[in-house]
């Protein structure tokens, strides 16, 4: 298999890859440049109490849950699917964590509970899409609609009056530090590396892209497209569950109604800003992380720039539209011809 990635990275493809990453990178550079102008010392990174501290670190820190969800999403989207239920999976994982902590389980075991639930959600979505051939938006809409209700019901398992908890282990994984660096960033890097190895150093990534590009052709050339699509949802469920661990440990409580609300939209957005097409066939892990960082950088800069937080959504929408228009060939063509004063 090791020969394949090399043949794929012909000079032309590298050029395409560079151009693809150029737009989100440009967007990020622009956002940060504006920040640098508005907020003096925006880029300074200091060491406070033995930890890295600064706006740039903060952006990465807050982007990590979205980025992890978006990584899973990029695999699903690569297989021509979409997973709307990731926010619900975050909520369910959070509820399960609070429930098991109240039951007195060892906290290391609870991690496996959370991941197991994510796995189960992924299996459910995967079965609906791959075995029953239900359209991905509809299939995952089911868990999206009911997932937060399931989370609320899990809270009721132990009375549900106080779903808050404290857990040194989980808090270390979420808000703690490993030396200078926040633990969640280290773990995020580990997850990224793991996924990258899975996607780019095994045949899995190629199978996913083949199944996403043309399921029939993939089947005919011996790829088990159904199995591959199924697996992509399992990967996504696991990623969402990990985001659930991080977000729940951050707030010390399980709040199924609002935890991870709209994270599916941010995650899909991150994939699209990273150049991924919802029509499937490609997985861009690095660009997806970049997309998630762009989204968070935007949010952070609105907050630090002194604009009222009410402007957050509008500015976000404007940037999304701008990035999308830049990526669209037709819109670029129109802009260029307008700039040259030509009539179309």
């Amino acid at each position: 298999m090791s020969a394949l990635p090399q043949t794929k990275r012909s000079p032309r493809r590298v050029g395409v890859a560079a151009r693809r990453i150029a737009w989100p990178a440009l967007a990020l550079a622009l956002i940060l440049a504006v920040d640098g102008l508005i907020t003096p010392g925006f880029f300074s990174i200091r060491i406070v109490e033995g930890r890295l501290f600064g706006n740039l670190i903060d952006i990465l820190y807050r982007a990590m849950p979205i980025a992890v969800v978006a990584l899973g999403m990029s695999v699903v989207i690569g297989a021509k699917g979409v997973d709307l239920s990731v926010g619900s999976v975050v909520a369910i994982a959070g509820a399960v964590i609070a429930w098991r902590i109240h039951r007195g389980d060892p906290h290391l075991l609870i991690l496996f509970w959370a991941l197991g639930v994510g796995l189960l959600c992924g299996v459910w979505n995967g079965l609906l899409v791959a075995a029953l051939d239900i359209q991905p938006i509809v299939a995952t809409l089911i868990l999206m609609t009911s997932g937060r209700g399931i989370g609320l019901m899990i809270n009721l398992l132990y009375g549900g009056t106080d779903p808050s908890f404290s857990s040194p282990l989980l808090q270390f994984l979420s808000v703690g530090h490993l030396g200078l660096v926040p633990t969640r960033l280290v773990l995020g890097a580990v997850i990224f590396a793991g996924l990258w190895l899975l996607v780019r150093r095994t045949a899995f990534g190629m199978f996913v892209e083949a199944a996403g590009e043309n399921a029939r052709a993939a089947e005919l050339s011996g790829v088990q497209a159904r199995l591959v699509r199924f697996a992509s949802y399992v990967v996504c469920g696991l990623c969402a569950a990990w985001a659930g661990v991080v977000l729940t440990a951050d707030t010390h409580t399980s709040d199924p109604v609002s935890e991870g609300l709209y994270i599916e939209l941010d995650a899909i957005l991150a994939v699209v800003i990273g150049g991924g097409s919802l029509s499937g066939g490609r997985i861009y892990l690095g660009a997806t992380v970049l997309g998630a960082v762009v989204i968070q950088a935007l949010t952070t800069s609105i907050l630090t720039s002194g604009l009222p937080p009410e402007y957050n959504l509008v500015v976000k929408a404007a940037v999304v539209i701008a990035v999308l228009l830049l990526q669209s060939k037709n819109a670029r063509g129109l802009a260029f011809s307008l700039a040259r004063g030509e009539k179309r």
């Binding site: 899409v129 029953l132 051939d133 239900i134 809409l141 009911s146 899909i268 228009l325 819109a331």
Partner: protein, 320 residues
Amino acid sequence: MNERYRPLAATATVFVALFVAGGLLYDNFFSTLVLGDILADNAFVIVAAIGTTFVIISGGIDLSIGSMIGFVGVVIANLDAAGWHPLVSAGMTLAFGAAFGALQGLVVDFCEIQPFIVTLAGLFLLRGACFMINLDSTPIRHPFVEAFAAASVPLPGGGFLASSAIVMFVALAAAIVVAHFTAFGADIYAIGGDRTSAALMGVPMRRTVVGAYAVGGLYSALGGVIYAFYTSSGYPLAGTGAELSAIASVVLGGTMLTGGVGLVAGTLIGGMILGLIATLINFNGSLNGAWIMVSSGALLFVFIVLQRTLIAPSRLRIGG
């Protein structure tokens, strides 16, 4: 029976079965009062869902519904405070809704960006605009709105058909005419069924796609007007998540999210099923909101699986 009416029949059967089950379980459930309440409470979502049906049949999706409902309400409430007549501001917001929808459609078609993402940007934009206008609920105190909220037609059996439900039925009738008796409606079905064939047959692609999203935007805005009049207020968080209920109503109504297949009338029954579930759970008293979410999801699951395995087995395709 004609194959295209089968999903509608299935949806109607589910609704009747649930309604009868409610009547057997609870006293006073089997009445036009309950039916009228379901219609009145869900009219705004159903109207928005009817518009979305056009977008979905054309092969697209519209996520901006909920934000549009909130935005329209906030605008009407603020214009009311500025002394505008609600009907004038309602007309203006309807025009805005259609224009905003058309713009989304234009971006989808011209820039070839996935509708999911374009309308997601629309969701953020309109909800953000709500927050920029004001953060609190604003009352609408115009006598016309008070009269509208109170107006209703008595039904046999002690129930009432609220004014919002009447507006909904008028909007539904108009939508049925447009979808099934005009060339524009046929074009939408053609594009959703098979884009390439439609283009080869000379269907005006851009005009039709833009038109479908314009109808979606217009009906979402109408949903917002109904909601604002019904609640006599504009609230920036109004309609949060309504896009989910609307899409679920469309799916329960037998419309395929792949496009090209579905009936506008099905959406009405789909929306009423969701309303009925919420009412059933409220009647029970010992269950809470979590049950509404879980049972709506469960019903969605049952229905989709049935649709997939029984009703349209010939439409099974690899790749979804």
